[in-house]
Amino acid sequence: MSYYSAVMTSAIVNIIAILSMYTLMGLTGIFSMGQAAFMCVGAYATGMLAIHSHLPMAVIVVLSILAGMVCALLVGFPVVKLRRDYIAMITMGFGEAIVALLNNMSNITGGANGINNIPRKMTLWLGVIILALILVITMNFKRSKYGRYCIAVKNDELSAAAMGINVARVKLTAFVFASGITALAGSLLAYTTTYVEPTAFGFTKSIDWISFVFVGGVNSLTGTLLSGMIFCTLPEILRFADMYRIIAQCAIVLLVVNFLPNGLFGEHEFTDAIAAIRKAAKNRKRGNL
């Protein structure tokens, strides 16, 4: 794998993780400050299965997603009934606990050394295909009754419940759905970097993701995607020194949040542009007749 495609592949993996934050923050208004822990779960599940079993990659990826979703179900069940600000705190606590647990179960997870020598089975094209798939799935989720449930719950829980929407269940569904995608990103990460170690998945990573989503626009999947692309590739391509990278990142976040409180994209989606072009084309045709 060339340097360039290795950078792109790992960027794509991180973009997938960031997209999972869109369902949580953008659609449902849940701030999970421990979301990176589900990436950790996915990565470890893949690492262990890839080393200790002879299962094919596809099966291992699916099992890793399921592992992330089961963890999300266990964490989410008590959490979704809490107030939103508590949800942020408690998910952070759970996230740190999961990472610490994996760090300490050294006989099966390798402890602080992590797991090494995972076969490198990720390719750039596989990444592109999975990213496209996740975009389609997330868009379909948004455009179904679940997307409308989530937005209704985010806008007004009392009113949503009065319409017959089970608010706690909607939050749990969004949390488990999103965490499945986060765990998928973790699984792909293990296949990309060939090793996993627990320290990479602390709450600072989750907070990074939250700020990226804010820059793109909490209410826009397109914005989240583009923001993910910028933040996951720019530093690698420009080869910033680490310190400057953090300063640049903070500067961008502060500028955008100050001057564009709804992020770069607001509520707009890429598909809006297509719809607008179609409409314009239709009008022009009518004008010609």
Partner: protein
Amino acid sequence: MNILEVKELSIRFGGVKAVQDVSLSVKTDSITSIIGPNGAGKTTFFNLISGVYAPTSGQILFDGQDITGLKQHQISLLGISRTFQNIRLFNQLSILENVQSAMDARATYNLLDSIMTTPKKRRIDRENREKSLEYLRLVGLEKNGQDKPGSLPYGMQRKVELARALASEPKLLLLDEPAAGLNPTEVEEFIRLIHKIKETFHISILLIEHRLQVVHTLSDMIYVLNFGQLLAHGTSREIIENRDVVAAYMGEDD
């Protein structure tokens, strides 16, 4: 037959007895109104029936079933729908989606149907969109379906809420001051709309209003609430002639 039967309902918030031993019944296919000055406990009474609060004591029977202490969404799914005094629409959903949200809660497709956009999902969503548009047409807002609720003036947002409440196909509709802020012509139009809704959907309506003039032509039965307690109930003629009620309204002349 009574669609709703409330027995000695009470709730206390700390020291405030917001609703105290209120008993009330709503006849099937009738319009019943609750009137009373501001702070009388009318909205709190609705919040109790619709499950926002669990009562401190008392019982609520809906369609013969005890619904006391059930959750909000459970009560909604059983067939009680409501509007809010301070309009509570979903401001990031379009007006059409707001109405559709009530039907979504009853839609039968699952998560897998959603992420794969199966024909079943597409069919149900399409049907619900068309039905939602019908409800919007009923309140005269079919042209505004794609806009956000915030783009409408207050009075029209109330109509969206009404359409949304109807979209859940309730047996009992709770309307909290639906005519607030309307001018006299609009009030007349509103009264016609309520009659039309009752005739079209054969539903029972329980309506809060703090002006007696608005409800007396509309209501089969009127309950008067004051300081959380039931002051009187009867037909609108009986209520107008009731001295206690007149006394409670002294100084309240809007």
